[in-house]
Subunit: 193 residues, 2 copies
Amino acid sequence: MFPEFETYIKEQASLSDDDIGLMRAKAIEKTLRRKEVLVHQGDVCRYKIFVTKGLLRAYTTREDGSEHIMHFSPENSWFTDPESFANATPSDYTIDALEHSELILWTKNDLRYLVANIPGLKACFDTLIYKAGTVLRRRIHTAISSTTEEKYEEFIKNHADIHARVPLHMVASYLGVTRETLSRIRRSYVIGK
Amino acid sequence: MFPEFETYIKEQASLSDDDIGLMRAKAIEKTLRRKEVLVHQGDVCRYKIFVTKGLLRAYTTREDGSEHIMHFSPENSWFTDPESFANATPSDYTIDALEHSELILWTKNDLRYLVANIPGLKACFDTLIYKAGTVLRRRIHTAISSTTEEKYEEFIKNHADIHARVPLHMVASYLGVTRETLSRIRRSYVIGK
């Protein structure tokens, strides 16, 4: 799994071979079967996660049993529950694998050490945090201003890879719309084509 | 205006008198009348803004004329359009004053200089960006998982000060719900009390 990460990080950041060796020394490799859970809602998310293969999902379950997907994390993306990871508080999310997934994990202490000792890594994370903020703001804007049709169109446009890999009810959960409404919209798309 | 900022920043960051002198030297003070616009949608947002007094709003206007409020920024808060500010691209937002407001502005070049030369300021901004991410994630979670009643309750809980200062139709716009639904919910609140 580490070679995939090495390819990724060399494209994203200016790291020396020593830097990469340091990251490798602290890395924990983990494989998840499809449907296997990495973090249960209520547990602490102790890792910063890099997905080298597969697809992770983070979702909350409400008291009425309804599930709400906050995030999909495919190969070559980072993920964690930032609040739980930073403060060692119970996570609001369950994080599980929607496909067979291969991950690299770093603990908070190890990541702090790496960021303190690898200047290029700090710059890389600053850029990723900025980009994540852009995505969050766009998602909020869509949520408060768009029709269900527009939400679905934007999802297909921005997450074509995810759209092709998850069932429609998960897209509905991510968008905060009902499965029935989204099914109706998709049918009209298919008929329209 | 600068004394208010100085009080704020001394609580947030470990800055020397020289650091604060440097920030003062680059600061631009600006007063906005109520309803005055600082940035029009389509213009570049050239400033990082600190509000010492008053209340700013950032909103988008769609082609159908509907307005969608992305953000309220009261006294002792920072604001900018991060994408427009970072990339000098046209802003998606209009930023205006909902009350007589007093602001301190820094240009991108000046802010970059300050962050590079004041380590405590970089740490302070890193913390603010992390906290802003938490707020964005919570807002998304509410948008996709909550009923209109719950959205309104959460707004009152987390933004009691804003709730007391803006008309209900602006709360509806921020939450992405119709004014009529929110009026009905508020009436039931008043009757219930």
